[in-house]
C-alpha cells in the first residue's frame, strides 16, 4: 500500500473559492429524530420505488416501505419506527413533486427484527453480497444516486479490473465525505474490500484531493498492511476532480469513450459514503436509513456535518444547526456548482443530499447574460473537450440536431463553462435544457 500523487490530470477545470473551513473541522454530529419524517420514493436514478405501506400502518426502522420498481431502481426503508401519517406527493429538492411517505416517529427507534449481516464476507458468495446491497436500497451517495447493486453487477463482457473510491469531494463548501474518511476510515476500507471482492477488481485507488491531508492520513492508517495493488491516489485540488470520468483519467490514464460508461474501460467508481453504506449493509445487515449532510454557508450559525435520518425536512436540519445569523439570498441543496437552488425549506433529505448550503447576499450575484464574445474561456474550462460557446448558441437557436452532433450529451453539467464565462452566459443551463430535449427526441425516435 502506498500513497502517491496521481500521475495524470484531466484537461480543463476551474478553481472556485472552496470555503471548506466552515465545516471541515466539525466532527459529525448525530441529529435527533424530528417530529415528522417525509421519505421520498424517488431518491435515486431510475424508476421511483413503489410504496408498500398505507396510512395508519406501524413500521419499524429498516422496514422496507418502498420496493424497487424495475431494474434501475432502489428500495426505500423506514428511517425510524413509528406510524405512517400519510402516503401522498410532496415537493422534492429537484423542484418536482414525487410520491412520499410521511412517518411520525414513536420515539423508540426500534429496528425491525431479522436483520442479519454476513460477518464472514470474505468467503461469502458474490451473489449473496450483491443481494444484501440491493436489499439495503443503496444508491450512489455522491449525488447522482445510481443504484449500487446495478453498478456491482457489470455485464460479463465488461471485466472490471480497477475500483476507484471517490473521496475527492471537489464541490466547494461540502465536507461530509471528508469527515467520513477522517472518522470512519476503517469501515470505509472494509466496505471498499467488499466491493472489490464483488467486482473481482485487482487494483484499488482511493482518490482524495490534496486539500484533505487529514483524510489521506486516516485512510493510510486504516489501509496499513494492505496489498500492493491498493493505493491512495492524491489528486490535485481542482474542480471537477470528483467527476467520475475525470477521476478515472486522473488515477489510471484511461479515457471513457464518448457516450460510454466507466465499465467500458474496466473501472467502477464508488463514493466513500456509498462504501460505508455497503459495509453497514453487508457486515451489520442494516439498510440505508441515514446519511451525513453538510449544512454550511456564511449565514448559518453553526455549520455542521450532520448524521441524520433520511427524510428530515430541510427546515429541521437548519434548526439543528442553530438557525441563521445573517440574511440568506440563496439556498442550495448540494454543493454550489452542481446543487439545486431551492425555493424554500420544504423539501426533505434523501440518500443523495450531500449538503444544504446557504449563501449570503454578498456571495451571490444576479447577472444579465451578454452576447458571446468568442473568447474561448469555456472551451479551456470544459473537462469534457466540448465547445460550450458554440453549443449554447445552437441550443438557443433550438438546433438540437447540430448540438447532438457536437456531443452535447457528453456534457456532465459541472458548470465550469458558466463559471469561466466573462459574458455571464447561462451556458450550463442551456446544456441541461438541450440535453433533455435531445434525449426526448431520441426516445420519441425509438418509439417510432
Amino acid at each position: 500500500m502506498k500513497a502517491t500523487k496521481a500521475k495524470f490530470k484531466f484537461d480543463g477545470g476551474i478553481h472556485p473559492a472552496y470555503h471548506k473551513e466552515l465545516a471541515r473541522d466539525r466532527a459529525i454530529e448525530t441529529m435527533p429524530i424530528p417530529a415528522l419524517l417525509r421519505v421520498s420514493m424517488s431518491q435515486h436514478l431510475g424508476a421511483p420505488a413503489k410504496p408498500l405501506v398505507k396510512k395508519g400502518d406501524t413500521v419499524k426502522r429498516g422496514q422496507c416501505i418502498g420496493e424497487a420498481a424495475g431494474f434501475i431502481s432502489a428500495a426505500v426503508h423506514a428511517p425510524t419506527s413509528g406510524t405512517i401519517k400519510e402516503v401522498g406527493t410532496a415537493p422534492t429538492a429537484m423542484g418536482t413533486s414525487a410520491a412520499f411517505i410521511a412517518i411520525e416517529p414513536d420515539g423508540e427507534d426500534a429496528w425491525i427484527e431479522g436483520l442479519e449481516g454476513i460477518a464472514d464476507w470474505q468467503n461469502a458468495d458474490t451473489k449473496a453480497l450483491i443481494a444484501k446491497v440491493a436489499a439495503a436500497g443503496i444508491a450512489g451517495m455522491g449525488g447522482a444516486g445510481f443504484p449500487t447493486n446495478v453498478k456491482l453487477s457489470p455485464p460479463p463482457d465488461k471485466p472490471i479490473d480497477t475500483l476507484i473510491l471517490n473521496g475527492a469531494e471537489c464541490e466547494p463548501y461540502l465536507t461530509a465525505d471528508h469527515r467520513l474518511m477522517v472518522e470512519h476510515a476503517e469501515q470505509i476500507w472494509t466496505g471498499c474490500q467488499i466491493v472489490r471482492k464483488v467486482l473481482g477488481a485487482k487494483h484499488v485507488h482511493i482518490a482524495i484531493e490534496d486539500n484533505k491531508p487529514e483524510a489521506i492520513a486516516a485512510m493510510e492508517q486504516a489501509m496499513e498492511g494492505a496489498d500492493d495493488d491498493a493505493s491512495i491516489s492524491i489528486l490535485k485540488t481542482e474542480y471537477p476532480q470528483g467527476a467520475e470520468k475525470q477521476q478515472i483519467y486522473a488515477t489510471t490514464g484511461r479515457e471513457v469513450p464518448s457516450g460510454g460508461l466507466p465499465m467500458d474501460v474496466g473501472c467502477v467508481v464508488e463514493n466513500v459514503g456509498t462504501t460505508l453504506a455497503v459495509w453497514d449493509a453487508v457486515v451489520n445487515g442494516k439498510p440505508l436509513t441515514e446519511r451525513v449532510t453538510t449544512v454550511t454557508g456564511m449565514p448559518v450559525s453553526e455549520p455542521k456535518n450532520v448524521l441524520g435520518r433520511i427524510g428530515i425536512p430541510y427546515s429541521d436540519l437548519l434548526d439543528f444547526c442553530g438557525g441563521l445569523k445573517a440574511d440568506v439570498a440563496k439556498i442550495i441543496s448540494g454543493g454550489p456548482m452542481m446543487g439545486l437552488a431551492q425555493p424554500g425549506l420544504d423539501a426533505t433529505t434523501t440518500k443523495t443530499t450531500s449538503g444544504l448550503l446557504f449563501l449570503a447576499p454578498q456571495e451571490t450575484q444576479t447577472f444579465r447574460s451578454m452576447p458571446c464574445i468568442a473568447c474561448g474561456r469555456c472551451v479551456g474550462a470544459c473537462p469534457m473537450y466540448l465547445v460550450p460557446a458554440e453549443l449554447s448558441q445552437m441550443l438557443e437557436a433550438e438546433d438540437y440536431e447540430a448540438a447532438e452532433e457536437l456531443n452535447v450529451l457528453d456534457c456532465i453539467e459541472c458548470g465550469c463553462c458558466a463559471f469561466a464565462c466573462p459574458a455571464h452566459r447561462p451556458l450550463v443551463q442551456h446544456m441541461k435544457q438541450g440535453k433533455s430535449k435531445v434525449m426526448l427526441k431520441r426516445r420519441q425516435a425509438q418509439k417510432k
Partner: protein, 294 residues
C-alpha cells in the same frame, strides 16, 4: 502591356463560360425534375407562412401531400376559408367551411395578481424556468411569462402584459405553434366568435388558488348555476364549453374568482375587461378553466 495577354485571358475565360453555360443549359433540359404542375399551382394557393400548423414541414410539403397523397384539404389554418375554397376548387372537392380558431391564453395571473415564490435568474425560457423548483410562480399552473410562446409565433400575435401572455386574435393565424410551445399547456384554440372565456387553468382547490392568485377559479360552480351547460367542471376547475353559447352574461360580473372574462372578437382577452375589485372573502370556491398541465 502586351495586348495579347488581355486577349488570351478574355478568350480563355469566355471559353470556359461558354462551355459551362452550354453544359448547364443541356443539363437543365435533359435532367429536369418533372414536377406536377398541380403541386406548383397548389403551392401558389397556399399562403406561404410556413407555420407548420398543418403538421407538414411547410407550405410546399403540404401542397405536395394534398395533391399527391390525398391529405385533408382543410388543414391550412392561416389561409382560412378563402384558401380552403381555392384548394377545394383545385382538387374538385367539397369545401366544408369551419370557423376560424384563435389561440387564447387561459391564465390572467399577471405579476400584480399572481405572486412569485422565488427569484428566477436563469435562461429566459418557460421550460427552463419550470425546471427550477417547478417554476417561480406560486401558482403551479399559471403563465410563467418568459415568452416561449411568443418566440415561436410566426405572426407576432403574442404580447406580454405585466408578465402574462396575451394573444391578439386579429393577428393570430391559427397555426397552434404556441399551444405546443407552452410547457404548462395554457393555450387553447377556440372559435374566434366566442368571447367569453375562463382564463384560469388551476386545478387546485379553492383555498390554494386564492392564496396563489387573485384571478383564479376556485371551483364554486357559480357559472354552472348561472349559465348552465356553457360551462362544465373538471375537478375544481370550470371549463367553457364552446359548443353552447353563454346566455346569461351576468356571470362575467358575478364570477367570484374574477376569472371569467368577456372580450370583443378583435380584442385580446385581458383581465382588465373585468376589473377585479378586492372582493369580499368568499368561502365558496369559484371557477376557472383549463387544460392539462404537464
Amino acid at each position: 502591356m502586351d495586348i495579347n495577354n488581355i486577349l488570351i485571358t478574355s478568350g480563355a475565360i469566355g471559353g470556359v463560360g461558354l462551355t459551362c453555360g452550354t453544359a448547364l443549359a443541356l443539363a437543365a433540359k435533359f435532367l429536369a425534375v418533372k414536377e406536377d404542375p398541380r403541386v406548383e399551382a397548389m403551392d401558389e394557393i397556399l399562403p406561404g407562412a410556413n407555420c407548420g400548423g398543418c403538421g407538414f414541414a411547410g407550405c410546399a410539403d403540404y401542397a405536395k401531400a394534398v395533391v399527391l397523397d390525398g391529405a385533408a384539404i382543410n388543414l391550412c389554418a392561416p389561409g382560412g376559408n378563402e384558401v380552403l375554397e381555392l384548394i377545394a376548387e383545385a382538387m374538385g372537392q367539397e369545401a366544408s367551411a369551419e370557423e376560424k380558431r384563435v389561440a387564447v391564453v387561459m391564465c390572467a395571473g399577471d405579476s400584480e395578481k399572481a405572486p412569485r415564490k422565488h427569484l428566477y435568474n436563469g435562461v429566459a425560457d418557460c421550460t427552463a424556468a419550470a425546471a427550477v423548483a417547478g417554476g417561480d410562480k406560486l401558482c403551479k399552473y399559471g403563465c410563467l411569462g418568459y415568452g416561449s410562446c411568443a418566440r415561436v409565433c410566426p405572426s407576432g400575435a403574442i404580447e406580454f402584459k405585466n408578465g402574462v401572455a396575451i394573444v391578439h386574435p386579429d393577428l393570430c393565424i391559427s397555426c397552434s405553434a404556441c399551444v405546443r410551445a407552452c410547457p404548462r399547456n395554457l393555450i387553447k384554440m377556440v372559435p374566434v366568435s366566442k368571447t367569453i372565456h375562463v382564463v384560469c387553468s388551476s386545478k387546485d382547490k379553492g383555498p390554494i388558488v386564492k392564496k396563489a392568485c387573485q384571478v383564479g377559479c376556485i371551483g364554486c360552480r357559480m357559472c354552472l348555476k348561472l349559465a348552465g351547460d356553457a360551462f362544465e367542471m373538471e375537478g375544481f376547475l370550470a371549463l367553457r364549453n364552446y359548443d353552447i353559447p353563454v346566455e346569461n352574461e351576468l356571470i362575467v360580473e358575478k364570477c367570484p374568482g374574477k376569472c371569467i372574462v368577456k372580450c370583443g372578437a378583435s380584442e385580446a382577452p385581458s383581465p382588465e375587461a373585468t376589473e377585479p375589485t378586492p372582493s369580499e372573502p368568499s368561502t365558496e370556491p369559484a371557477e376557472a378553466t383549463t387544460e392539462g398541465q404537464t
